[in-house]
Every structure is written in C-alpha cells, then in structure tokens.
Amino acid sequence: MTLLWRRLLSSIPVLLIVVAFTFFLLESASGDAVDAYLGSIGGGDAVLAQSLKVAYGLDQSTGSRLWLYARSLASLDLGWSVAFDRPVREIILERLPNTFLLMGSATALSFGLGSALGVVAGARPGSVRDKSLSIGSLVLYAMPSFWLGLVLSVIFSVQLRWLPIAGIETIASGKQGFERALDIARHLVLPVGALGFIYLALFLRVMRASMAEVWRLDFVLFARSKGLSRSRIVLRHVARNALLPLVTTLGLQAAAMLGGSVVIESVFAIPGFGRLAQEAVAGRDAPLLMGIILNSAVLVIVVNLLIDLVYALLDPRIGSSETGA
C-alpha cells in the first residue's frame, strides 16, 4: 500500500505545476473572455465591455486571480465557467462519462486487437503474415484521425446508412435501459473505430517487437526442447513475457487518446471533454480550461498508477523492489 500512497503524494506537486502552467499559458494568449464573448455576439459598447470584465473578475490582477483560484481549488471548488455561465464541476461531470466511454472503448479496441494481431505477427517474425500486418497497421497509423472519421461516416452513415452519423445517442428519442445502451453502442462504433484503429498500430508493433526479442531467450529454447507445442509456447511463454512493454505503452497512450478525442469528438459531435477543451480555449474560459486540464491530469495519473499496480502483478520483481526501497 505504501506504493499507492507515495504515488498519490508525489502527484500533488505535479498537479500544482499543471494548474500554474495552464493559467499562465492562457494568460499569455491575446484576448480575454470578454473579447471572445463580444466577438461572438457582434460587439458591444465600452460600458458593456467594462461591466462584463467586472462580472468575470477580469478587472483584478493576474496574481490575485491565480490566488483566488488556487484557494477555491483547495476547497475542491472548480469555480465558475464564464463561457457557459455554469459551475465548472457541473459541466465536467456532464461530459466526463462520454469521454470515458469513447476513450475506454477505443483503448480496449486498440489494445485488445493490437496485441492480438501483434501475437499473430510475432508468432513467426519475418513471415508474410507478419509483414502484411505491419504494413497494414502503419498505413492506419499514418492516417489523420479526422480524415478516417469522415471517410468512415461517408461510407457507413451517408452511403450505406448502417450507422448513425453523429452524436452519442439518438436525440430526444426517449429510449431507456437496454434499448438506450444499444443505441449508444451503435453511435460509438464509428468514433471508436476511427480513434482505436489509429492507435492499434502502436500496440501491434510493440507486441511484435518484444515477442521477437523474447523468442531469442533461453527459456524459450528450453520450452521448445521440452517438446511443447508451438501454440503453447507462443501464448504461455512468449506472449506473456512480451506483455510488459505493452502495458507501459498503454499508460502513455492514455494521454494521447485524450488528445485524439478532441478531433474525433468534433467530427462526430460527441459532447465530451475534448470538444469542451476546444470551446474553453476559444472562449478564453480560464476556470473551465483549468478544470478540464486538472481532471485530465488526474485521469492520466490514475491510469499510470493502475498500470504500475498491474506491473507488480505481472512481474513480482518490480513490485518488491518498489516496496522494498
């Protein structure tokens, strides 16, 4: 348990740095929330601009605003979004499930399918199957996710009309329970595909490379000399030992997926975190953007913590050295 506590404690300075950095980054961008808002409504006079500045608290100094924000954060209050005119916590809680669903499914897809294909490719390194899988996955990896998303929607939504074109569920349909879950699943097929297929290559390549390495180790030779079947060697010995680097990649990918979801959420009109972040930047909405980044940082920290725990489970040597230190 000490590992858990130490990790949690060490993440606090990370979060503080993230907060301060985001704040100053947004501060250094030209234009503030009032400029963004007046631009969107076609302008207003000087009195209106000034009263909005006061209402948004932008008439105060940068330092005092950061201090105020940090203080409210200490009491776990994420503040008030000026672009939405609602509490940040409420907006984030509304969007978080959608992003979880999208990211979780896409990660599961790319990890599951990627590692499975990696096993297939790594079972016989250098074979035709290996080469065609590698090339195919690299082609996918080279595609921009928005383009893949658009192409998928043109084929499957516009032409074939098999799947809905956008959104997280059929709007105002009144569906409940299982029917609703099915509806959401149908809506997720294309965005999850677009996001998941692109990262699939990474898992495939890592799995394949690490399997190729394990093949050369002595215990594999031993397993072969024992007369074990090839499939048993591949699955029980090689693949299992090759899994560790893949788990590392999974942790790193959690952050990349969050970035990729900005684009996919816009293309498929999914009200999630990524799109929210984009709107927050455009509206110069500091509290909202910091709320999003803070939550994303927590998410990445938690995922990596879980990965470390899984590590310890997969390879007892790592866990014991951490706790023993």
């Binding site: 961008a29 030209s30 234009g31 503030d32 929330a33 400029d35 963004a36 007046l38 631009g39 969107s40 409504i41 076609g42 302008g43 207003g44 006079d45 000087a46 009195v47 209106l48 601009a49 209402a55 672009a83 939405f84 005119d85 609602r86 907006i91 509304e94 969007r95 658009l150 929607s153 043109v154 939504s157 516009v158 009309r161 809905p164 074109i165 956008a166 959104g167 997280i168 709007i171 105002a172 816009s266 293309v267 498929f268 009109a269 009200p271 999630g272 799109r275 929210l276 930047v281 455009a282 509206g283 110069r284």
Partner: protein, 536 residues
Amino acid sequence: MSFPSFSRRTLIQGSALLLASTALTSRTIAADGPKGGRLIVAADSEPKNLNPAIVASNGVFFIASKVIEPLAEASFDGENGLAPRLATSWTGSDDGLSVTFKLREGVTWHDGKPFTSADVAFSALSVWKPLQNLGRLVFANLTSVDTPDATTAIFRFSKPTPFQLIRNALPVVTSVIPKHLYEGTDIAANPANTKLVGTGPFKLAEHKAGEYYRLTRNADYWGKPQPNLDEILFRVLPDRAAAGSALEAEEIHLAAFSAVPLADLDRISKVPGIKVISKGYEALTYQLVVEINHRRKELSDVKVRQAIAHAIDKKFVVDTIFLGYAAASTGPVPKNAPEFYNKDVPTYDFSVEKANALLDEAGYKRGTDGTRFALKLLPAPYFNETKQFGDYLRQALAVVGIDAQLVNNDAAAHQKAVYTDHAFDLAIAPPVFRGDPAISTTILVQSGIPAGVGFSNQGGYVNAALDGIISKAAETVDTKARTELYNDFQKLVVEDLPLINVAEWGFITVARDSVANISDNPRWAVSNWADTALKS
C-alpha cells in the same frame, strides 16, 4: 419591392415569388401546410445567454426567435418591409418625441399569464435600453413608456428620435420578455435567460448541453392554427462537414446560415431530395470590409487607400471566394437595403495601372526588391471567406508593390488586436448591415469611439464632415431628409475611403425537399417559423 441581386439563383427565385404573390390573393394560402412532424435543424453554437432581449445576435435569434417574439418582423411584402407580431400598428409623432404601439389582444405567455403593455414597458426600460447590445444605442433617449391601457404602449424620448430608425430596428431590438418573471430580479442572471418563456409559436422544452435544443408546439399560440410543426430540434453539429453529411443521411432536415460550406453546395445541390436556397437573408446582410488603421502614415493618404481599392478585383472575390453567392459592394450600404442604397457614388474599378500610378503619385516608389512598403494584415477568423479574402488581398497587394504580412488570430485575439490594441494596419471585418445605417454601420467610420468597442472605427479615422452628417441624421425626424443625409454619407465614405467595402453576402439554407414554407421573409432563419411545415 425590389429583390436583391445576390446571384442569378436568387433572382430566379425572387421573380417566381413575385409571380406567386400576384397569383394568390392571400398570403395565408401559401402559409398553410401539413400539420405535425418534428423538424431537425443543424445548430453550430449554444449561446450561454439565450435571451434575445439582452443579446440581440443571430446566434441567439436562431433558436430564441421561435420562443420569444419582437413587436414586428421583417417582411418581403409588408408596409415599410414589416409584418406585425406582438404589435399590430406603430405610429411616430411628428416631433419625434413619441412612438405609439397598438399591441395584439388575446396573447398569453407560455406560462398562461396574459401579455400586456406592462410587459412591453418593462422590456423597453429595464432590458432593451440598459442591457441590450444594440438597444442601448437605439433607445438611448428613451425616458418613459406610458401604458394607458393593456394594449397601448407609448414610448417617450428626451430628444427627437427618428421614427425611421425605430421602425427599422423593430425586428432586431424589440424582443418582449415577461415582466412577471423578471421584475425585481437580477435580470442578467435570471434563470429565464436560459429557460425561455415567451409568446412565440414554440416553447423551449429542453436543452441538452452539447447535443440539442427541443422546442415544442405552443397550442395556445395567438396565430392559431399555426404553428404547423409539433417540434423543432436544433441538433448541435460543430464540425462543418457534418451538416452536409447529416442532410444527405436524412438525419437532419435543414441547415441554415451556410452551415454547409459554399464549396460543398454544388455537389449537394445535385443530391436528389435536397434543395439549396439563397433567399431569406436579405435583412441579415454581412459586408466584407477592409478596415484601415489611419495612424499609419502611408494609409492616412487617401491616394494610397484608393490605390488599394483599385488593386482589389471584386469580381474575382465574388466568383472565386464566395463562389457567386455574394455581390460586389459599391459602398457602406448594401444594395438590398433599397430604402437607403445610393448607387451614385464614385467607383474604383479593378486596375493595377491606376493603383500603381496612385501609389507613385503619393510618393511611395518601389524599392530595389519591387516593394513600396510593408503592412500588417489581420483577417477576422469568423468566416472561411474572411480568411480566404485575407490570402487574396495579400497577393493582390503584392502585385502593386505592397507587402502585406498576414497575422492570423483566433476570435478573442483578433478582437483585442484590432479593436483594443490597434495592432493592425489593415484588417478584414465582416460587419452586419442591420436595416438602418444608424444601428451598426455609421459606427464603423464615426470618430470618438473609445478603444475596446468591437466592430467600430478603431482605425483612428477622423472626418468632421462625416461626423457632422452622422450626428445630424441621428436627430433628423423627417424620413426623407434623413434618407438624403445617408445618401451623402455613402458618397463621402466612398470618396474618402475610411474603409473599403468589397462584397456583401447573405447566407445559404440547405434543406430536404420535405420542408415547406421556408425562406419566406428577409430574416427567415431568425424568425418564428410558425408557418414552416413538413411534408410526409
């Protein structure tokens, strides 16, 4: 009634409508349609304050105009281009000190309370005048509103106020909100600003953030048997490619405000079951304008400004950037404001020779590298077309030896750079002509406007003669005399070029053939859609 010459397509549709209006004796015949159905419309933004009485912007009107109504709406065939809504008649006094509105009887709010003159008086004095972005200007001299009875409201002004201005502003600035929900509250923070209660044909039933707005039929609408539709769903589709695909996949019925990009129109117009319409935006004309910072020595010389005007090929801009869905501008008032438009102004034909000659004359000879001087050019990011025109202008100016360096910003940064910091030499802006030059047009060239006011003269231009005309027109009550002043205004602006008007455009609506009764007034996208219907 003349129709704007936006494109050949509009003209054809316009004349068809003229034919139809003479063939049918009553407008209500055309307005009838099948009952029921759910219309699904693409929306690209979700305004945080949906109250059109406070925020008079097209983004808000697009959704809110179905719920909350103005005193009068723009009309193709009504007297002075207006059709009655909550007011049935309006008359201005000869001295310009009062305007009397007769209000519609038997109107109720969505919560069942009766609509009376008290609501109008409250909206005018507590919301339009002190809080609304445009009403602050139009009702600046409004002092009181008398309500002798429940259906009469008399607006009283401290200074003579042109009735022409009030009349032209009615559709935009007079959205009436219920006094009983707002009185005694912090109006700007009232929950009814997002949970609208109005008198309109539709009630706002639900807003699911990031997904949709759902509007349902108001069975007690004063215009019974309208509305025709049971529901309108505004579906949030932020990606510009999505609206077109959603139309093709029959997931939405209609996309207004050019949600389908111009470049896709040619292709999508050939898809069976889909129509492309450029009518219905005549009172929402956007203007493509080159803003000029007169603090720059070179640009303070009228010859240089004229040279820039000569260097711009307006026909190319209309044909290539707007793909024909626009018209070349001649001055600060667009052609489809026939009440004010003055065609007798100087013209600047596209001529590289004239531009070069003027620049030579002004004393800015080409250097060894062929460049006369360099400028900072900031295109507004709001439309694809303003950004594309930025790219074009850079090339057009290079031909005459001016090196325009593009600075691309997002909306917030652009606002601050141009309208607060004045950190530009040339900027490209899309101001809106709102029915009367005094609402948002004269402010583009008038002097003495404090820094920080968006879409106004922040280029440091000062012209006493022009300022004189503007302030005189602001208090000239006689419609004819006032119109003449604005004719002079246009002439002077085009002569001296405080800014350069390049093109003017409306938007495009793309709809499934099943949608009937659309684009039937000059502010259609932001009107109440009571007669819009769905054919099965």
